[in-house]
């Protein structure tokens, strides 16, 4: 028993040298819960932190990358093509994983802060965050992935802000991430990476809970849990409004 424990302890220290790293992240968020109310117009999260060191800072510049990511959903991307002179949807691709929101802030040009292999392994940049099913029908699935990025960038849901992370004295860092008004609820995540020479030397993850509150929450729950009552309520409102306007106009025009 005792030997087994020793063996495990040895394995642990051997297998995870990263635990004994020289630099680590201490970070905080201005809010870790975003509440969507009826008058929600978007929000801003301040993400800040410092690098904790056991030894003096090594040579070279410190790079910081901060990613705020929304929940992923499966989506279908369709493409229009001209058939017999008319534009119709033809090919479609199932996208297995595409985040509903994805904002990256970096302390410098992305390619200089993090090298391509590391990005591929850690799924940091926007193209890396999207995963497509292997598709036999389409020759160019990459164009569909690009389209998702283009459409969502236009909608303000995907953003890459190079140079938006301010690093002070190679130790303190901070950035502001804009959350747009068309935010969907779910479990969001903030990932912070420290990099030197293109390699990641430390990382940190914090959760951000985005949820509807108040009347938004109530209506959403009613619509999903008591669909029949919700439908009847919608109709009752419609009929009452129609009758109300009619009665109002009659009195106004008579008097």
């Amino acid at each position: 028993m005792n030997r087994l424990f020793q063996l495990l302890a040895a394995l642990f220290t051997f297998a995870l040298p990263i635990q004994a790293q020289a630099e680590d992240i201490v970070a905080g968020l201005s809010q870790n819960a975003v509440q969507i109310t009826a008058t929600f117009v978007g929000s801003e999260i301040l993400i800040f932190g410092a690098v904790k060191r056991d030894a003096p800072a090594p040579e070279g510049d410190l790079g910081v990358v901060i990613v705020v990511e929304g929940p992923s959903h499966e989506i279908t991307v369709r493409r229009k093509e001209r058939r017999m002179g008319i534009w119709v949807n033809t090919d479609s691709v199932e996208v297995q994983r595409a985040p509903s929101f994805y904002a990256i802030a970096t302390s410098g040009p992305f390619n200089e802060v993090i090298n391509q292999d590391v990005d591929g392994a850690m799924h940091i940049s926007i193209p890396e965050s999207i995963r497509i099913f292997q598709s036999e029908q389409v020759d160019d699935p990459e164009n569909f992935a690009k389209a998702v990025i283009r459409i969502r960038e236009d909608a303000g849901l995907y953003a890459m802000n190079e140079g938006a992370v301010h690093v002070t004295d190679n130790t303190l860092f901070d950035t502001r991430v804009q959350l747009p008004a068309n935010l969907t609820e779910g479990a969001y995540k903030a990932r912070i990476f420290l990099a030197r020479g293109g390699e990641i030397i430390a990382s940190h993850t914090a959760d951000i809970e985005v949820s509807k509150v108040g009347i938004e929450r109530w209506l959403y729950n009613l619509a999903h849990e008591q669909a029949l009552i919700y439908g009847l309520m919608s109709l009752a409102i419609a009929i009452a409004a129609g009758w109300g306007a009619s009665t109002f106009f009659r009195f106004v025009l008579r008097s």
Partner: protein
């Protein structure tokens, strides 16, 4: 003023939606159409997900049609009996239409076929109506009074005759039923209310007076859209009541104004405007098919 919609999950300008609802309401009260054709693309443009836009619109149309019908009822320009006969036909048609739609879908390329046939159909209906009503309008301008046409065509020689007092008709119940079935099929395939096709059909096939047509069309739209609202609310959960309220406040007021404008206009003028609107929709749909879209790709919900 921005409002976050609980089901659509987007933030929208409340005043814009009030105005949009009002505009569609005016058309609804004037012409007896639901206005979904106009509202759907506008809601897409604002960024409302298509499924939510279509379902919520149905709810808004219930409100503006009800508002319009009450105004028409007071003027006795609703033929309830005719409306009910059309409704029965419409339900049969909707049922058949869904079957047909699924059959076409299995064959593939249903989208193209439906859109093309719709453009051609609207073009013919709108064009014929435009020519007819412009001629009628020119005759009245020339000082002649247009004789109320009592055309005796095949429609009047069928069995099961019924008296439609508000329309001043004594005709067989078969033609209105058939019109209802036809509109029901088209509505189910196209995903539109069908007021567009119903109104010209009532004027030209059934020979109903234009004024009665508007109120009667609104009457049957209420039942159809109420049913659609319930279907969407219980199966897809896509009715956004906050969006509906914003649209329908504008809509019910617009419908009252529209009805009053409609009553003050001559039947021929009303028909000219309606014909122009049908043609405008036809051209719009046609251009959508012919002009290269600025974004070729679109994102839909997952699953399939």
């Amino acid at each position: 003023m921005q409002i976050y919609l609980p089901i659509a999950e987007v933030s929208v300008n409340a005043l814009l939606l009030l105005g949009l609802g009002g505009l569609v309401g005016v058309l609804s009260g004037m012409f007896g159409v639901g206005g979904g054709f106009l509202l759907t693309p506008m809601l897409f443009f604002i960024g409302i997900p298509p499924a939510v836009a279509v379902a919520t619109e149905a709810n808004q149309i219930v409100a503006s049609s009800f508002s319009g019908v009450l105004a028409h009822l007071r003027r006795k320009t609703v033929d309830i009996k005719m409306g009910l006969v059309l409704q029965v036909g419409g339900l049969i048609g909707a049922f058949l239409g869904i079957q047909l739609f699924n059959y076409l879908k299995a064959l593939g390329q249903v989208d193209l076929l439906v859109k093309l046939s719709y453009v051609i159909f609207l073009g013919i209906v709108g064009g014929l109506m435009f020519i007819e009503s412009v001629r009628a309008l020119m005759k009245t301008r020339g000082g002649q009074t247009v004789p109320t046409r009592r055309r005796h065509n095949w429609v009047h020689n069928l069995p099961i005759k019924m008296k439609f007092r508000a329309s001043g008709l004594y005709i067989s119940a078969i033609p209105p039923l058939m019109v209802g079935v036809l509109v029901g099929i088209l509505a189910a395939i196209m995903g539109v209310g069908g007021g567009f096709i119903m109104v010209p059909a009532m004027i030209y096939i059934l020979g109903m007076p234009t004024k009665v047509v508007v109120g009667t069309s609104l009457f049957q739209i209420i039942l159809t859209t109420a049913f659609t609202t319930m279907m969407h609310a219980t199966t897809n959960y896509t009715v956004d009541v906050a969006l509906a309220v914003l649209l329908l406040i504008g809509g019910v007021i617009g419908a009252q104004i529209g009805t009053r404008i409609g009553v003050k206009m001559k039947a021929e003028q009303l028909r000219v405007l309606l014909a122009m609107m049908v043609l405008a929709v036809c051209i719009k749909l046609g251009l959508d098919l012919l002009i290269m879209p600025s974004e070729l790709y679109s994102i839909g919900a997952g699953g399939h």
